[in-house]
Symmetry: C2
Subunit: 259 residues, 2 copies
Amino acid sequence: MNIALIGAGNVGWHLAQALQSAGHTVTAVYSRTATPREELSRLLPQAQPISSLNLQSINAEVVLLAVPDAALATVAAALQVKPGTIVAHTSGSQPLSILAAVACARTGVFYPLQTFSKSKAVTFKKVPILLEATDNETLQELQALAQSISETAEPVASGARRQLHLAAVFACNFTNHLLGISRQLLLEAGLPHHLLQPLIQETVAKAMLHHPYLVQTGPAVRHDQNVLDEHLHMLQQHPQLQELYRLLTQSIQAAAEKQ
Amino acid sequence: MNIALIGAGNVGWHLAQALQSAGHTVTAVYSRTATPREELSRLLPQAQPISSLNLQSINAEVVLLAVPDAALATVAAALQVKPGTIVAHTSGSQPLSILAAVACARTGVFYPLQTFSKSKAVTFKKVPILLEATDNETLQELQALAQSISETAEPVASGARRQLHLAAVFACNFTNHLLGISRQLLLEAGLPHHLLQPLIQETVAKAMLHHPYLVQTGPAVRHDQNVLDEHLHMLQQHPQLQELYRLLTQSIQAAAEKQ
């Protein structure tokens, strides 16, 4: 398929390359600023870097919007495409209806559920792509496109996708932050971070096998008050981490009581 | 070596079996209650389940204390061993000095840095064991014991071990709780939890390669206020999760500002 990509951030960066690897052609890359669209276009031999949202002269059956959630409504309102083009956004949190403003288009959602950084390659085959569309034909075309780059392509309606995105914030963004805090604490003690790697891997492996609430370990769930007090004392130079420690401990204890 | 194990909880359960697999003999298993010591002893052909902390008639060069942190001081005070026995505790948070009360013993720490649940097997070779001892000879004997079951056995003093344990609470116990919250949110939306597995695995894989603060993604670090407000609204039935969401968001933004 011929695809135009709006947005050259982390999602667009990986998505465009996965599409190209699967044999599709990315014909145009739009971004507001010049550097990202030119950098990404250089990786896509047939892509033209563009600075206008009027795509009526661009050869593309599908236009994918990989822009920040906050910019989506504005971009959708400004976008002009050939009649019959499929326009799909890639956001986990935004509804399909945000694309209602796009004239003459069939609209959909093409949400790759993954965390993307330009600095790290991603195995796209393993990235679930969650789909939605205004009509069944568009859904089927998006599904075919998704299945060409991923093993998992499933229709998920706006409400469920929004909840999935919230769950993903806890499982990914917040988890990453906790891993960052632990790394910071190790650095402060002059300890190598590789010491914690087997623990982190085991934590995640166990969470795949069992509901994490049922395999919770540590001083909070044991109500080991001496250790909890000592940890809070050790964090006294970091009042925000202290507050986070306190709240996570309470939340662990509350979840355990409900089991 | 002949080893007596005090405590038949999650740590003792896995440690005893790893020691036996490496060719050591667990000669006795103590626990306060009958069921765990008998269940564990059944897995260890030469182990005698015992209910007294007087081990003077037990054949053991090393006594390992795998009891809850809160019980450690009491158990240490009640323990009686043959002169010259090595007594080591397995706690991340407790100092070596807590064993000063054990008469006639050489004391140490033998801390396996991992999360243990009886329901899941652990590859002990990959579990770092952190060691400490009152004298060099004892340290060397504990190191030989640790190296017989693990690839990583390193001396770490009480202060650094305590900080490592605090970091492990963030990286493991708190992370597990966040994974539990995300699972709960998926269940509430009727979504299968396998959808999030590639995301969780990628999050952890990326955190091994880069400092997590430098690869933070998501609405918090983007200051995407619309999404943040919507997520807080979606959590209104869960005030504790709402508070956690707010605090983690602030903490992510504060960490990003310091970079």
